[in-house]
């Protein structure tokens, strides 16, 4: 039996008859994945927030320049 099928068979048997040691390894992997996904989510929110702030800053700069321009014009 090739290694892939051997792993499928063993993990399938684990679904039926849980081995605590193996389950701990599976739980650890899932925890790492969840942490990684949370980190990516945080980074995305941060870049969204930074993007948002930049947008507001750009708008403020534009308003300021326009006001300045208007101010001078007025």
């Amino acid at each position: 039996m090739n290694m892939e099928n051997k792993l499928k068979k063993l993990f399938d048997y684990h679904r039926f008859s849980k081995n605590e040691h193996l389950q701990q390894i599976i739980d650890d992997t899932n925890t790492r994945v969840e942490e990684k996904e949370a980190l990516i989510l945080d980074e995305n929110s941060l870049s969204f927030a930074v993007g948002g702030v930049r947008e507001v800053e750009d708008k403020t700069d534009k308003d300021f320049l326009e006001k300045d321009k208007l101010g001078r014009a007025v």
Binding site: M1, K8, D12, H14, R15, S17, N19, L22, I25
Partner: protein
């Protein structure tokens, strides 16, 4: 039949295991319940054929459960997609018992974390390699390479043990 193998004992001991395994393979709760009852009828009918020198009771019941699910899919193929993760079914040389799972756990522990994660996500969580690459936030190409590396290392670690 030994005293330990009376039908009530088997049902109490294995009902939850059989049901949760069947439920993981069948979407419909009622189908899973019906199939679970059929499996126990098969177990009671065939208990005299169980040979503890050939396999543990757990492995024997697991094989009946798994084969019953395959039969269910074959007879209900209009309602269900054929499951594709039973392609190991015809091959019999991997031992299935508590010890084999412990050996696998020890071998996985010896792998670098990233290889272990790829194996768990692909073979236990049943993600394809593209999904694994997304979950681990690494490129698909790297996951394919590291998957092969993990199989190679596991083959060496499990050599002569499984």
């Amino acid at each position: 039949m030994s005293e330990r193998l009376d039908s009530e004992w088997i049902y109490t001991e294995y009902r939850d295991k059989v049901f949760s395994y069947v439920r993981s393979k069948l979407n419909n709760y009622h189908d899973a319940e019906d199939l679970c009852e059929d499996i126990f009828i098969k177990i009671y009918k065939n208990i005299d054929r169980f040979d503890e020198e050939k396999s543990s009771l757990s492995t024997w019941i697991f094989n009946i459960t798994r084969n019953s699910i395959i039969d269910f899919y074959r007879t209900n193929k209009t309602n269900y997609e054929i499951i594709d993760n039973y392609d190991y079914i015809e091959e019999e040389d991997a031992e299935l018992d508590a010890l084999s799972l412990e050996i696998l756990a020890k071998a996985l522990e010896q792998l670098p974390e990233i290889l272990r994660d790829i194996i768990v996500l692909h073979y236990y969580e049943e993600n394809n390699l593209k999904e694994v690459s997304e979950k681990l936030n690494i490129s698909y190409g790297i996951v394919k390479l590291r998957h092969k590396e993990a199989l190679f290392k596991l083959k060496n670690l499990l050599k002569d043990q499984l």
